[in-house]
Structure formats: structure tokens, C-alpha cells
Symmetry: C2
Subunit: 157 residues, 2 copies
DNA sequence: TGAATAAAAGACATCGTTGTCCTTTATGGT
DNA sequence: ACCATAAAGGACAACGATGTCTTTTATTCA
């Protein structure tokens, strides 16, 4: 499946936080989980990890929550993939046979080397910021599990 | 990880059978598992599945085992992927958000559409037979978990 | 200082993948 | 018919990914 669920949740969480930065300083996990349609506590675990790894900042207590710096916006997706799924997709043999290299290639090595290289290039050259753009309501719908009318954006904050 | 272990075992099993066809009519699971360095009973399950789906033929009893037809050699890898992992990699959104299409694309859709298209093309146009070639000993080493000296090829058959 | 809020932390549950083991069925040789 | 061989089938175990729940820690505000 290329990416794990964890990677998907992490990316969507980060994008949601990035999107909210002009409105509010910190975003709470509860709000993220609801808007994105993602399991709350599981998302919490993932966010905690990202904080520890320096990709997010968090503040406890009232008015606290998660936020991110410009540096994070400029990070390539590969960094996030590394923190969640690891880089096995690129470093390991697709058939999981010892080391992956041209010296002792598996039957799929050369075909997959191309694909893996292309994928890696995309993950290396695409930053979090690159995924943003567009208008806000449409963008939130594009990362939410279920659509919701944009009115929820203004409401209870 | 792109492919499951199951897919890897299945492919290596099929290639091993294909490779042995000039020597012996049927290949036993025991031999396959040992030579490839793969869990025996798990491999059995996978082979059973491939037989049921028409990708392999099997015969029970003494001198029995698995074999495959020319038709199987001409099958694209995509068929095997379908029988093991399914085609979710190609049909689903990489973030697992509803349907994957350009109408309501996720933030990674267009980047991943290209990669997924390339991968699919490889899987569609590459057949089992395409992976064979080369000299036998070298090829077996390329699908075995651990190297073994070629003498094992001649020995106890 | 006390109450409320929100993340951090850790224990535990569920589920799909991977792997093992035992019994049943089919086949060939005697 | 009987025995040996080998796949088919099904029960179950181990494990990692995913998901839930409760307790602890940090922070804000009154
Ligand atoms: S050796 Fe298998 S993908 Fe490189
Ligand atoms: S919509 Fe996400 S990959 Fe197509």
C-alpha cells in the first residue's frame, strides 16, 4: 500500500495544523480528530511522536495544542515518511531478500529501482508547504475522511 | 513496503517451479521451502491459493507436487499481485481517503498518480517468463533467502 | 492555591498478516 | 487392499499495526 495509515494520519494532521495557523495559534487534538475523521487517541500518539522528533511544537493546558514552524513547512515529505513508516521502501529489496543492490539483484530489482527512485525523488523534493495552496474549505475537504459543509469552519472554535 | 511478504513468497515459489521444470515434472513444497529459505506451511497456504486460482497445477501423492503451464509463464505480475495483495495500491488513494480520482483529489493525488501509473505499467507488462533468463545457479541464488553453493542443485532430488 | 484544560504517557484491546501444527484427502506403488 | 507420499484444509499462535481508555503532567486563569 506504499504508505501506512499512520503516515496518512500524520500528514493530514500536519496539513490541518498548517491550515489553521492564520486563525489560531494552537490546534487541539480533539478538533483535528473530529474535522479529519480520524481516531483521536491514535492521532495523539502520532502527534506526540512528531513533537519529540521536532516536527511539531506542543503546549499543554488551556489554549494549548499543536503548532508548527516555518522550518517544518519546508521539510520534505521524506522526513515524515522516515518518522512514521521508515525508509524501508527505498532501502530494502521489494522481495525482502538481503541487501538491495545491483551486485546481487533480485528478479525485480531493476524494474523496481526505477520506480523506487522516482517515488523517492517525489518525496524528497515535495515539501509540506507544496501541498498547501488552494482555497481553505476545498483543501480541508481534501484531507477529511468525510465531507462536511464549510460552515463547521466558522462555528465552535 | 509496496509488496507483502506473501507476494514475495508467491513469486519466488513460482519462479522456483518454473526453473525446475526441465529437470522434474513436479516440485514438492518441502524442497521449495528449503531451497528458498521460506516458512514451509505458510508457503503451502499460498501455493494452495494459486492452484485454486488457476495459476499453478498440483498433484497429490508420491511423485506429486506443483507445476505450471506456459499460460502461467505468460501471465503479468499484476495477476499475481491481485491474487495476493489485491490491487488496492493502484485503485485506492494513498492516504486512504474515499475514491481516488482527479475530481476530488487528495493533496498527494497527482504526484502519486504518476508513480502508481508507472508501477502498474511495469506490473502489467512484465510476465513471469520475463523474470527468468540467466544461468540457473545464479538465478536460484537471486531468489533464495540465503546463498548456498550450487552443489545442492545436483544432490538429493 | 484550586479548578479547568490539554498534551504526555502507558496499559490494554482488536485486527490483519505471518507463521505453526495437526488432520484429511488424493494418488501411486506394491 | 495396504502403505507411503504429498497436497488440502482447518485450528490456532505470534506479531505488528491500529485503535481505545485511563492516569499523569503541565499550563492557564480566577
Ligand atoms: S534486490 Fe530486490 S529490489 Fe533491489
Ligand atoms: S485521491 Fe489520494 S491518491 Fe488519488
Amino acid at each position: 500500500m506504499i504508505f501506512s495509515k499512520t503516515f496518512g494520519y500524520a500528514l493530514r494532521g500536519i496539513l490541518y495544523i498548517a491550515l489553521m495557523q492564520d486563525e489560531k495559534r494552537f490546534v487541539q487534538i480533539e478538533e483535528m480528530a473530529q474535522k479529519l475523521g480520524v481516531p483521536r487517541h491514535f492521532l495523539g500518539k502520532i502527534m506526540k511522536r512528531l513533537v519529540k522528533e521536532g516536527m511539531l511544537l506542543s503546549v499543554k493546558g488551556p489554549y494549548g495544542g499543536y503548532t508548527l514552524s516555518d522550518a517544518t513547512l519546508q521539510m520534505p515529505l521524506l522526513r515524515l515518511e522516515d518518522l512514521t513508516d521508515g525508509l524501508g521502501t527505498f532501502n530494502n529489496c521489494v522481495l525482502r531478500l538481503r541487501a538491495c543492490n545491483a551486485t546481487n539483484p533480485c528478479p525485480l530489482h531493476f524494474q523496481m529501482e526505477r520506480i523506487k527512485g522516482d517515488l523517492r525523488r517525489v518525496m524528497e523534493t515535495t515539501t509540506i508547504a507544496d501541498l498547501l495552496h488552494k482555497d481553505k474549505k476545498e483543501f480541508i475537504n481534501s484531507i477529511a475522511t468525510y465531507e462536511f459543509d464549510g460552515s463547521m469552519l466558522e462555528n465552535e472554535n
